[in-house]
Symmetry: C2
Subunit: 364 residues, 2 copies
């Protein structure tokens, strides 16, 4: 098999999908997985088969590709710009589309396009509950946005959304931020209800918090993405075990000329350059069967394995499997994923929603 190549262990993948479906069902949470991690309708279909209510997307391309497998899509991303608006609202009519917003400009643009295209669009108002990325900064702003939505049919105010991406400590150290999150959310819900804009859906969740969202009262829906494959970061913070990492990059040792290191044919064009986050840690990926051996430096097509802390001495031509720090980025670098069971490649599938453009990209 030619390297570098993206492998997914099919047994671990099935377990990961299963486990999240069970968790969500047990706690009465609607599971709406984020497809950014796998970008594959095949895996999305499996998530839906096991009970996901719909899917979460970040780009028009993801919406288009996923409209093949569900009629319930959330774009949990501000929808701005005429081309993107037209594209998202041109999804098949049977698709119930929900869009997250955090500005009057976005609401008004969405309303105008929805009117022209005569298409109902459900809207979530996005709240910043600590991530400081997007999301309105006050409950007053949330109420004002919700009212603006409600008064502009065919928009429908459907709920609120937040992304607790600022909570990525090890699971045992999340309590303080989680307490604050509970408090802020409860206060927002109470005040919105009093103002007559009660959100019927409260959408939250992330993989680092995946197993704790039932501890946040009010949340009705969760949107984890990474959990299907997992990665080094997810394992290090304790939101999965090392054995739950389904995704690896297969690479070949191409040089051992420089002492103390071995060079593999997976550099940052194959592994991404994502730091370890949430815990102290170095390197960009670790060997699946020797997690103490990590990729410490990278060029575009070279990854440098640090051998100074191991007695393992690979030979040129040896093949290794690496667990990357952040799997979503690595999937995005690949066109094709190879499904393996043990050492056997059983299937291959395209990363269908990877690109930005539609059919056009293939024509270019």
């Amino acid at each position: 098999m030619e390297t570098p190549a993206a492998l997914v262990d099919l047994d671990i993948l099935a377990q990961n999908i299963d486990r999240m479906a069970e968790y969500s069902a047990l706690h009465g949470l609607s599971l709406r997985p984020h497809v950014k991690t796998h970008k594959s309708p095949r895996i999305a279909a499996e998530q839906l088969r096991l009970g996901a209510v719909g899917l979460t997307c970040a780009t028009p391309r993801e919406l288009e590709v996923m409209s093949d497998v569900t009629s319930d899509l959330l774009l949990n991303y501000p929808l701005l710009g005429a081309p993107k608006l037209a594209r998202a609202l041109s999804l098949p009519r049977e698709v119930q589309l929900t869009v997250a917003v955090d500005s009057m400009i976005a609401v008004d643009a969405l309303a105008a396009t929805a009117r022209i295209m005569d298409r109902p669009v459900r809207v979530y108002v996005e709240l910043d509950l600590g991530m400081h990325r997007v999301g309105v900064q006050s409950v007053d702003d949330a109420i004002a946005l919700a009212m603006r939505v409600a008064e502009q049919p065919p928009l429908i105010f459907a709920g609120i959304t937040f992304y607790p991406g600022h909570i990525r400590e090890p699971v045992s150290e999340q309590e303080a931020k989680l307490a604050r999150l509970r408090q802020d959310l409860a206060s927002a819900l109470e005040r919105m209800e009093r103002s007559g804009v009660r959100p019927s859906i409260v959408s939250g969740g992330s993989t680092p918090l995946a197993w704790r969202m039932h501890e946040v009262p009010g949340v009705t829906e969760v949107r984890p993405g990474t959990y299907v494959y997992n990665d080094r970061t997810t394992a290090q913070i304790g939101a999965c075990a090392w054995e739950d990492c389904a995704f690896t990059v297969l690479a070949t040792v191409v040089s051992t000329a420089v002492p103390g290191q071995a060079v593999i044919d997976a550099g940052c064009k194959a592994l991404g350059r994502e730091p370890v986050r949430g815990v102290a840690g170095e390197g960009y990926a670790a060997l699946l069967d020797r997690p103490e051996v990590t990729v410490q430096r990278m060029s575009e097509e070279h990854g440098i394995l640090d051998l100074t802390q191991t007695s393992w001495r690979p030979r040129v031509g040896d093949v290794v499997r690496l667990v990357p720090n952040h799997v979503c980025i690595v999937v995005h670098l690949n066109d094709v994923i190879h499904g393996v069971r043990g050492d056997v490649v059983e299937s291959r599938w395209p990363v269908s929603a990877r690109g930005r453009e539609g059919a056009l990209a293939g024509d270019a």
Copy 2:
């Protein structure tokens, strides 16, 4: 135009290609541009039209795609693993293929495959002259490898190669490392000649050192890649001017909800996460027309512009152009490049050599 999108200013591109062709011709250096930056046969053809002797590649996919536009290809990367060996040596017969090696294992595997496929392959022995990535560590090792090549037809010992990627200081501060490079190369050449394995080609070069390779006696060939597009790092170290940056990412401001920042729809899936290197500097990209405004944080689809050092206040929906830190990575994230002149999109071309697989990927 939908964002994020990759734009290339066609006038600047033409100037950059022209300037390097002139420099190489002036100093009698063979120009063999690295295609990793553009991955496009269209741009490679223009480099060849202006005098490039052939092309440099890092992957089998790059070799295959570029065999459409030249019959002189260098794989400046260790060729290991049966699938890659078979693929590289299956290039059209009229292609003169050269491969860089730094191990006996690689030489012997290449020789075995070349014999089976009855195909001559030219070989460069790779020397480590300070980068400490790949390359033999001593002149004795270089001589031994060259002899091993020479005694195994249809391999042909054609020369040596090195990559001075460790020299990425600002141009004015390169002198000490450059002096060391001159000395090490002269010593290697003298000793190889005495041993009867005189390299007829000495291949070096990189964009940070692009305009100084004539100051290293013995070098006959240069392999810059980044210079076609340039980027923030290249400009910051002074190997190009800011006005020479041909490549930008077009992005839309999607949120200004959080004070002190504006969020654009280009995150690390559109910009990469490459640090500034060679000089002090922060951020992952800078605005083309306001280089003091940089992307300071990123999620997969979010880039956070820091507004604390500027009086500029963008509105949601505004469109901006960003110069990324490391353009080669950003090209690799795109399927299509848009050629612009002023504000007009004149052409679009695919990043043909981006993927790993051949026609197979399209079928998957």
